[in-house]
């Protein structure tokens, strides 16, 4: 993994256009999985994932080679993605809900066989997670759904590593309480 990441840094620095699709391939599942829980529906998650990579590309084309070689690509990409998720949540809450459209239906042609997570499950957990405070939700999603290590989450959210650990602990406790309330 480490060698691949370093390798893609060098290839991006050398020829951004040629290496960019490999960067998208390596990060898109994680970004999309996280965005599914951090935005309100599949439609928003697709938008956010797409917009993230468009911004990543535009930024890369303005950076010199040395800067690209030294980038922590996943952390940096997630910083952009998380911002977009937050903006999306803000603008959406000021607007009335779109009605009559199934926003959880895939927008692009997706191969149903490729989708591991069940749509109903996604919906249920999104509901539960939406009741957890934002910093805790972000930490839980980035760590347990996306699989990012604590240190990287701390970097992305701009919080300390110990705060991130306590966000995670409290987030899980809050989720457990929400689930217990459901069954009572």
């Amino acid at each position: 993994m480490t060698t691949t990441v370093t390798d893609i840094n060098w290839r991006l620095a050398d020829d951004t256009d040629a290496a960019f699709s490999d960067l998208v391939r390596s990060l898109q599942d994680g970004i999309f999985s996280g965005a599914l829980q951090l935005t309100r529906n599949r439609h928003d998650a697709e938008d956010v994932t797409q917009e993230t990579f468009v911004r990543v590309y535009r930024a890369l084309t303005g950076y010199d080679q040395q800067r690209i070689r030294n980038l922590e690509l996943r952390t940096w990409t997630w910083t952009i993605a998380l911002n977009l998720c937050r903006n999306r949540a803000r603008t959406r809450s000021r607007r009335p809900e779109v009605s009559g459209v199934d926003l959880d239906r895939p927008v692009t042609n997706s191969d149903p066989g490729l989708i591991a997570a069940d749509a109903a499950d996604l919906e249920i957990w999104r509901g539960r997670l939406s009741r957890v405070s934002a910093p805790q939700r972000t930490a839980v999603v980035l760590h347990h759904v996306v699989g990012l290590p604590h240190v990287e989450i701390a970097e992305i959210t701009g919080r300390t590593e110990s705060t991130t650990r306590s966000d995670l602990r409290r987030g899980l406790a809050a989720l457990r309480k929400i689930i217990e309330e459901e069954s009572s």
């Binding site: 960019f20 998208v24 999309f32 997706s110 957990w125 457990r176």
Partner: protein
Amino acid sequence: MTNDTITQKLEQLATNAPHGLLDEVLDAVGILADEFTLVDGPTGPAYVSWSRAGVTAYVPQAIVASPEDFAAQHPRPADYVEAPPRRLAGHLDRALETGMLGKLAVDLDALGEFQRKVLEKCAEIPPGEIRPYGWIAREIGNPGAVRAVGTALGSNPIPVLIPCHRVVRSDGMIGKYAWGSAMKRELLRGEGLDPNIIEETARRGIRVVGTETTGIYCYPTCRHAKRSFSRYRVDFRSAADAEDSGYRACKVCRPAA
């Protein structure tokens, strides 16, 4: 539910990004690769490439032999595929068969506005007919730009499908072609025209022909001129000559302003 069950459930929420998202992104930033394949065209096998918007290039295999060579000379990244996508295949076959674009979409976005206008106008010329460079210049509202029209057609990225071989010199001679005038002549012969007769007519100073019975004059290869019987045909050295003799211009081939 224990913490372990919860984290396990959370892990199962990880999923794949939608199929096609990568292409959307690459298209949005302008680096989505074209695809191309080998088709049978009027000059034999040829490479045809397309973007999501439409056909982007046409090159006979006689000019560019291998897929690697095609990809190397193509202005954008291009991937070889076995066959065109279904949305394109039928329209492409039909366009190659009929000599008209029909419903086949072409992607001229990479070109300048002037060249795009020239090529779109050129695509209106039906098979088996020819027009002078000056006709295109006039039709796109730029009558002085005859040389520029020649240049625009000379770098037509989709020859054959956009039939720049149907545009000839204003003196009636067949003229040059990006892949050599022999291929231009071959393409015209394939559409039932005889380049030698065309040039012979031009040498005799004939630019437009009138039909006595209708009082209408056309370019010699206009389908309306070809339809009229030769005994009613009147030759003219220019559109002005025809007008002076009381003829009016054909509304289909529009041989005058």
